[in-house]
Symmetry: C2
């Protein structure tokens, strides 16, 4: 099997600048039934997706398949476009808020397709999804299309997801609010990949990038979990000079970095690299010399976004370089440790980060299953229960990450180790960490909050969960 | 038409390190009749091509097509491999010395194919030539294959040609003499592209990279030509703040940079970027602030090779980014001026940089026709005659760059302007530069050194000259 080849075009020496989004859409040759893409580096601060789709709708173009790298609450206006027939299919990593509820209620004819970040890069590279036109918001670019994530008005840092679209989409339209002098170097997206450029007033709100999944917790329960997780890491043989790690989004997961820092200082150990969505605590580690390299597919806050432009060892990587399972070694494949959050974990260590306990879509696949499968040690951090709902349960509502790729579950009430990791059981049993069985955790959660009533679903599939290799891992059904 | 897609492979988590070249060749699945590639960043200092081919021959593999980015005198051992049937076809930018003579004498069954640097990138991207195995010498890499041009033992700076091979070859084998700690960042070739890595004692002699085409002239004739060329540039409207230029290899061409520097200092004008094979004078301009950016597809000396690793505005680019005519704008397409050498120039402004006046191959296509077609102003610098041979003649022996892409010919005895550039004729006639007709130059040369006897050729084609767009531009015939 071969990589999908982008259409070969020849530069005509004409200006790539187009005065309006409307004209750019026209020039792109976008027609009803085509596939378009966006990136989600601005997270809740994204203005561009809604704006572009509004213009597309106004031109009477319909039946589109949209494949944004992810969707957030801010994309609520898509509901009207689905109703109006402008959007026919959605492929995304996740979605939240009203749009997610709308989809969960079964209002789309075709189920949406959920892909991990690595799985999306794989599918695009393999030509399983072909992007006709990519609309990519970039904080800075020059008149030829050399683009980067730090601009005069807006900043998103890494453009890792957008880099894949720029490489494979047949037509690439950049949308920017900072047109700079040629050449804009170093460039995340390169002039050889770009067809048209539109300058608008504001592409996004940089404050939005730190919203949602990337809060800094002060919750004592989460801090306890983070401390446990950090102690699990430091007890394992891979924790040594030059080790590597990733901490996913979510309060406890992010807090692990801070505990790990203390351990590294105490032990005089430095990490070789940290990977993933990059946050301020990781940048601090880099600048203090406790991490030698940061690989950044997505900057999770403004400190990280600024760091990528100034720290020589803070490296931008594409989603394919990050986590694509179908290449000769994504960076995730070199991970010693990944620490990931969960909405639900079940007895088989399967993890759900997609649907709430009410069966409604409320999250994103992200790099969860990618890094879980890739890393030597996958540690899930989650409270045993949230409010009156158990997190550790018999069977997860939706499988995003298969249990055979999960090694340890850390809760505030005990740490469960996947039975297949007999080495970890032996090692961690020697510590004073509270090692328990996963069944004991399920029971404990039940005892505290009781067993939730089963959710009633209807027959209609509203979402298909693709595993990173393209196989169907699970389905989400319409709420009953 | 779509880009050729590299074979998709999945990393098996095994080590990519292979103990010997022989085993790497075996693992690559290389078979008789396949196509392999090399790069020429070490120029006359390249050890790897000969070494790899020796091992391939020892394994009994035959009938190979080799597509190095170029060949030099150091590749004389290929003669024996051609005779032995190991090498059946050669695609290259050029060749020199004994090998070039051997080819010119018609000893290969199939004519070699000569491509420009941009044309090679185009042909590979378009899948016109498919590389089964690329053997790429890299001065430094890590165990996963992240590779760069500056190592402990050897240095070649930019890996611009090799980057194309790494992106499109089905199997990529790196050959290095400096295996460093993971991750080797920033990387010119990335781990996702690399199958196997072999560590050997020495991949090349860095001193070799400054040899051959990149001498620094003290010849008064060449200095006069360079001064004239610099005065042509400064008389044109594109010479203003932010202008861009490239100076090709060859004494006079390289010397232009030095004269241009003086003019820029005097005029208080700074260049936006310089492109091409990068040399010390260009690095000086960057460090002094007279050029804002350097785009480097090939480092022509050790100062340039060192600069790329330390100067943030010295950017490595691939041959495709440099000069590929089939993408959305190679950097060459943004050139205001290119200054190029010539072995011969004729009345139609056609340029030969490939064959000597005796009809024997002795040069390389390089980026000559790429930049000539791309730049706004193409200036050829050449002495009117060399020894007893005229340079400016009725008809060039071999066309590498078509005359309709050449604007000005600068000799020490006068400057000829292509009649199609009436704007330049008007502008330059106002200066005190010695503007003459090309016919007058031909006549003058004839008067000084006489008319050379016509070369006698036989019917056998020994080389096909492909233009950058893939069309056949000319043929070289066997010497009679």
């Amino acid at each position: 099997m071969r990589k999908h080849g982008k259409q070969i075009k020849i530069y005509d020496n004409k200006s790539k600048m187009v005065p309006s989004l409307e004209e750019a859409i026209r020039k792109s040759g976008l027609k009803s039934g085509m596939t378009i893409s966006f990136h989600h580096h601005f997270r809740e601060g994204d203005y561009t997706t809604n704006l572009v789709l509004k213009h597309i709708a106004a031109l009477g173009i319909r039946d589109l398949t949209i494949i944004p790298s992810s969707l957030s609450k801010v994309h609520e206006p898509l509901i009207e476009l689905i109703k109006a027939g402008v959007i026919k299919e959605i492929h995304t990593s996740g979605m939240r808020g009203k749009l997610a509820e709308f989809i969960s209620e079964g209002h789309m004819e075709k189920p949406i397709i959920i892909r991990s970040h690595g799985g999306r890069a794989r599918a695009i590279e393999a030509g399983e999804v072909k992007i006709d036109v990519a609309f990519l918001a970039v904080p800075r670019c020059d008149e030829m299309g050399n683009a980067s994530g730090n601009g005069e008005h807006t900043t998103c840092g890494s453009l890792g997801y957008a880099m894949v679209d720029a490489e494979y989409a047949d037509t690439v339209i950049l949308v920017t609010d900072d047109l700079c002098e040629y050449p804009n170097m170093p460039a995340s997206i390169k002039q050889q990949q770009v067809d048209y450029i539109v300058k608008i007033d504001e592409i996004g709100d940089p404050e939005g990038i730190a919203s949602g999944a990337t809060r800094y917790t002060k919750n004592p329960k989460e801090l306890k979990i983070a401390e446990y997780a950090s102690r699990v890491i430091t007890a394992l043989p891979e924790y040594k000079e030059g080790f590597s790690f990733q901490t996913g989004s979510g309060g406890a997961s992010l807090a692990v970095t801070r505990y790990l820092r203390e351990a590294m200082i105490k032990d005089g150990i430095k990490a070789g690299f940290a990977l993933g969505g990059i946050t301020q605590p990781m940048v601090d580690l880099l600048e203090e010399g406790y991490v030698k390299h940061l690989f950044d597919v997505q900057s999770f806050d403004l400190v990280a976004a600024a760091s990528i432009a100034k720290n020589a060892n803070h490296h931008e990587i594409s989603a394919s370089e990050y986590a694509n399972p179908s290449n000769l070694g994504c960076v995730a494949s070199k991970l010693d440790f990944v620490i990931l959050s969960a909405l639900e974990v079940d007895k088989a260590f399967n993890v759900n980060v997609m649907t709430g306990s009410d069966g409604v879509i409320m999250g994103a696949s992200g790099g969860h299953c990618d890094t879980a499968q890739s890393a030597k040690n996958t540690i899930i951090v989650a409270p045993l229960y949230r409010g009156r709902l158990a997190t550790v349960i018999e069977k997860v509502t939706t499988i995003i990450t298969p249990g055979n790729t999960v090694d340890v579950l850390v809760t505030e009430r005990g740490i469960a180790i996947n039975p297949q990791r007999t080495d970890l059981i032996e090692l961690l049993s020697k510590t004073n960490l509270p090692i328990v069985s996963i069944e004991a955790l399920v029971k404990q959660a039940e005892q505290i909050v009781g067993k939730a009533a089963p959710i009633s679903f209807e027959e209609q599939v509203v979402a298909i969960i693709e595993y990173r290799d393209g196989s169907v891992l699970d389905r989400i059904y319409k709420r009953g």
